[in-house]
Symmetry: C2
Subunit: 150 residues, 2 copies
Amino acid sequence: MTESKRKNKPAQDAVGIANRLHSAAIHLLRRLRVRDLASGIGPAQLSALSVLVFGGPRSLGELAEAEQVRPPTMSRIVGGMERAGLARRRTTEDKRRIRLEATAKGTKILHEGRKRRVESLALALESLTEPEIKRLSELAELLEQVLSKL
Amino acid sequence: MTESKRKNKPAQDAVGIANRLHSAAIHLLRRLRVRDLASGIGPAQLSALSVLVFGGPRSLGELAEAEQVRPPTMSRIVGGMERAGLARRRTTEDKRRIRLEATAKGTKILHEGRKRRVESLALALESLTEPEIKRLSELAELLEQVLSKL
DNA sequence: ATAAATTAGTTAGTATAGCTAACTATATTT
DNA sequence: AAATATAGTTAGCTATACTAACTAATTTAT
């Protein structure tokens, strides 16, 4: 994959890029997952918690959608988060709905975990040159943009 | 998180970029995972299978290390792969060891799955402009480079 | 040459995380 | 008032992750 161009067709390149991005994402998360285990909280709970912390309180259905899982799955994840004291259920005017919010403990743990998780990646980034870092920053943004179209 | 810079210290930026990359990777895989389900094979099996297909046969311990899981976990994953006809165990000279290899069926399914999985991403990429695609290609490369330092 | 230690994998038991189907309770529509 | 729709939960299945404890084979040490 040392990237000599045989074809300039963007469509062709898109598949190659997609493959590389996919592969890179898998490897990235697998490495970082190891660090997550230190928090003693599973990845699904951690990810759901981050939605509550950074995105604010919301209903179970909304959280399920944000996390791309089915409601029963989210129901269990939330159960675990509650047991661990990371989040709580609140009743709402519409009594079918619940309002989920992060506890202070959940918020604290998330921030600590996120920091720990990301710090090894940040360290690796620092071995790059300034312009490379800058480019990587721009491209991270581009990636999120692409994902929003997925 | 709209990221105005209070500090220009690259170390600070690296954390921000690392966070965004981490987040993007999570979202990317979560979206693509949906497509993987079509194959009827779980993500761990799919990932292990890809090691066998693209990296060639190897022992259970080696596969476990490549996949960053413990041997008992890999033992189960392989069990599932065998039941599904995706891989097989072969005896070796050292009778403690086993040699794992992908079956023809496993190889075929992996290639099909990979294609299907990546094609929606490729489609999203095509909605970008030429220079954006080019930049994203650089990201993939740079990202792999960073990962190799992780 | 045997005993001890190491190595490779499996088995057992537990927890999390995903699904569908079926249920309860509340709200909305007819 | 009855029917329908919506929000969550419960039940039951599977996959994936762990540690601890086991078996079998090989290697090392006595």
